[in-house]
């Protein structure tokens, strides 16, 4: 079990991580979402021991990754670009991994290469999609327990994206490893994530499954008998998506009794609850004023 405890880090007088706290169990796929600059990549780099926190700890089982370097045999961080090994050929990279990680399975790796028809070239000569497949396959061939993936499908075409996701799913199912994915591709994440960690300005805003998030927040389409009440639009706790004629489509961060009575009080003709997508949840929890920086 992976535990992140009260992780805090300041970089250049800015608090990039603040009291980050969560656990990851085996066989889980966790999505890490947040606006750009929220601290996701820094968090992942800290979780694999590259960056040392000011406060807090990251524990794999009973031990801290900052104290036992051997723990890193079971944790693989895959950054968003294949920059590190670009001068290696695929075979050289495989040989490197094989010597570092005792659990590396050469035949599993070869199998992926044949399936996706990738020849032995220098990694920087591969296409973007092939690079992604190779770096991920190398990582998965290690048969580690924990994977930290930074934007694995970023910039890939539809086919490559699908291949990457399927590879991740098959790995989790086969070996019960855990994957923490940082991504902006919310429509992908909502399909494959067990839980979602939302990061805002270095803090954990929420940790929940999509179903749980849907229970917390609500998206309503209300048709009013008279015009849409101004008081509704002025409420701070809702995000208005659309107002057309007498119909208002909006989302509320928290579904409260108070909101329900408020809407009822303004003479609605029809109230329809619309299921929220992860993108909706993202917007209502993490969107809003002064969040773009």
């Amino acid at each position: 079990m992976l535990t992140v405890q009260q992780l805090s880090k300041t970089i250049d007088r800015q608090q990039v991580l603040q009291d980050i706290d969560f656990t990851v169990n085996s066989g889980e796929i966790i999505a890490l979402v947040g606006r750009n600059g929220a601290g996701k990549t820094t968090l992942l780099r800290t979780m694999v021991g590259i960056i040392r926190p000011d406060k807090g700890d990251v524990r794999y089982g009973p031990s801290s990754i900052f104290e036992k370097a051997e723990l890193k045999r079971d944790v693989i961080f895959v950054p968003d670009s294949a920059d590190a090994l670009k001068h290696y050929t695929i075979n050289e990279a495989a040989a490197l991994y094989e010597s570092i990680y005792p659990s590396f399975n050469r035949s599993v790796f070869r199998e992926t290469l044949t399936r996706y028809n990738i020849d032995n070239k220098k990694i920087r000569q591969l296409s973007k999609g092939q690079k992604a497949m190779v770096t991920l396959s190398l990582a998965f061939a290690v048969q580690a327990k924990y994977y930290l993936l930074d934007e694995p499908t970023d910039g890939l075409d539809v086919v490559a994206k699908s291949d990457v996701l399927k590879l991740m799913i098959a790995q989790v199912e086969a070996r019960n490893c855990s994957i923490i994915v940082s991504s902006h591709q919310l429509h992908e994440l909502e399909r494959i994530a067990d839980r979602i960690i939302m990061i805002e300005k270095g803090r954990v805003k929420a940790v929940m499954s999509l179903d749980e998030a849907r229970e917390t927040s609500v998206k309503l389409q209300v048709v009013f008998n008279d015009q849409v009440p101004v008081e509704l639009l002025e409420r701070k706790d809702i995000e208005v998506i659309n107002v057309t004629g007498r119909v208002a489509l909006f989302m509320a961060k928290e579904r409260t009794k108070e909101l329900e009575t408020f809407v009822d009080a303004h003479d609605p003709m029809l109230i329809e609850e619309i299921p929220m997508s992860l993108e909706d949840i993202f917007r209502v929890q993490l969107g809003g004023e002064a969040s773009v920086f």
């Binding site: 250049d12 820094t42 960056i51 370097a69 490197l96």
Partner: protein, 376 residues
């Protein structure tokens, strides 16, 4: 078992430079000596042919043995310097400095430039292991280069007509060559340490220059400044001179040892040789030990998130800034004040302010901006 893989990985990064170092080293150790030996022959021929043009040379010079030409006082010119002129110390040291900086840059700075640094830090090895591997790979280059070039050099001299030059001095020459190797390792070691001061390869190279020259330069600057205020300070003795010959400096800056070698008389004067053999090799060794230790410590402590910055320890930026302003100030002050014949205090002050100001602007540009995109 597993440490070997680190060596293999670092080897892959630096192998071309390493091999180039060895090849060039063999060339630099042997070719100049070879040509110098040829020159000896020619020079002696020349003197033999025209004995009257040379002071102190008897007319029956053609009957004199070669040996004579090396032992009879300054008047016979460059031959006096015999043995030492066969040892290409300057060239070897220059080669070692260049490759020391280059290899250190590839091993650390180059990694920090790319995501290889992150990759290394995510491997199941401690930072100490990572550093030791890099240090060993680099240092080994100098060892191999010297172990090949040195004996070859000695062999060439032994096998030449002038072997009498080296025969009584085999041990001394070996020590000299060993000293060159230690200096090379020391320069590399310091540059590797600077890999944790500078957050990428260019800043690492700059910091290496600073580390090598600062200890010597700063005293010169201070003395030069004091000289301006001669009226108020007694500068009858030369600070710089004393500092240059002091042992602390020779430990801190490996090049100081090199500058201290009197290449003219080192093999002739017992006193000079004693001075050299007791101080130089040991201080070079001490320099290696200290820079290795400091480099290891800095590598362990350097915050990865500062990769790409000019100076990685952001808490101490203010100190770097301050020292830059002071040194450039002194430099500016000295430069302006020597415009007039005698030391001129007002000019010094103006120069100091100008120099300091330029340094301040430079520091603001260099120290406080991000070179690589900060990902979060």
């Amino acid at each position: 078992m597993s440490f070997k893989i680190l060596l293999k990985k670092d080897w892959k990064q630096v192998s071309i430079l390493w091999m180039l170092l060895v090849v060039l080293s063999v060339i630099v150790f042997t070719v100049p000596a070879w040509t110098q030996l040829e020159d000896f022959n020619r020079e002696i021929e020349n003197i033999r042919a025209n004995p009257s043009s040379f002071e102190g040379v008897p007319l029956d010079a053609s009957n004199l043995p070669d040996r004579w030409f090396f032992e009879s006082g300054d008047s016979v010119g460059m031959l006096y310097n015999g043995l030492m002129s066969l040892i290409p110390m300057g060239m070897v040291i220059f080669l070692y400095v260049v490759f020391g900086l280059l290899m250190a840059s590839v091993l650390i700075g180059g990694e920090r430039n790319s995501q290889m640094s992150d990759f290394s830090m995510s491997l199941p090895f401690t930072r100490t292991q990572l550093y030791i591997s890099k240090w060993l790979i680099g240092a080994s280059g100098f060892v191999v280069a010297t172990l090949l070039g040195g004996p070859l050099l000695m062999a060439i001299i032994h096998l030449s007509d002038f072997s009498f030059l080296i025969q009584p001095k085999d041990l001394e020459v070996s020590i000299m060559i060993l000293f060159m190797m230690l200096t090379g390792i020391s320069v590399f070691s310091i540059s590797l340490w600077m890999g944790s001061f500078g957050g990428e390869s260019i800043s690492q190279a700059l910091w290496s220059f600073v580390a090598l020259l600062f200890p010597i330069g700063i005293v010169t600057l201070i003395e030069g400044s004091l000289y301006t205020f001669e009226r108020f300070v007694d500068v009858s003795y030369s600070l710089t001179q004393m500092w240059m010959e002091s042992i602390p400096l020779r430990v801190i800056s490996p090049l100081a040892n090199v500058f201290n070698i009197d290449t003219y008389d080192i093999f002739r004067s017992n006193r000079l040789w004693e001075d050299f053999v007791t101080v130089a090799p040991l201080s070079a060794l001490a320099s290696i030990v200290i820079s290795f230790g400091l480099g290891l410590w800095a590598f362990n402590r350097a915050p990865q998130e500062n990769n790409g910055r000019f100076f990685m320890f952001s808490n101490w930026l203010w100190l770097v800034h301050l020292i830059m302003v002071l040194t450039f100030g002194m430099l500016g002050g000295i430069m302006l004040s020597v415009v007039t014949f005698s030391p001129n205090i007002p000019l010094y002050i103006i120069g100091f302010v100008l120099g300091g100001f330029i340094a301040h602007l430079l520091a603001k540009r260099l120290l406080y901006r991000f070179n690589l995109k900060l990902k979060s």
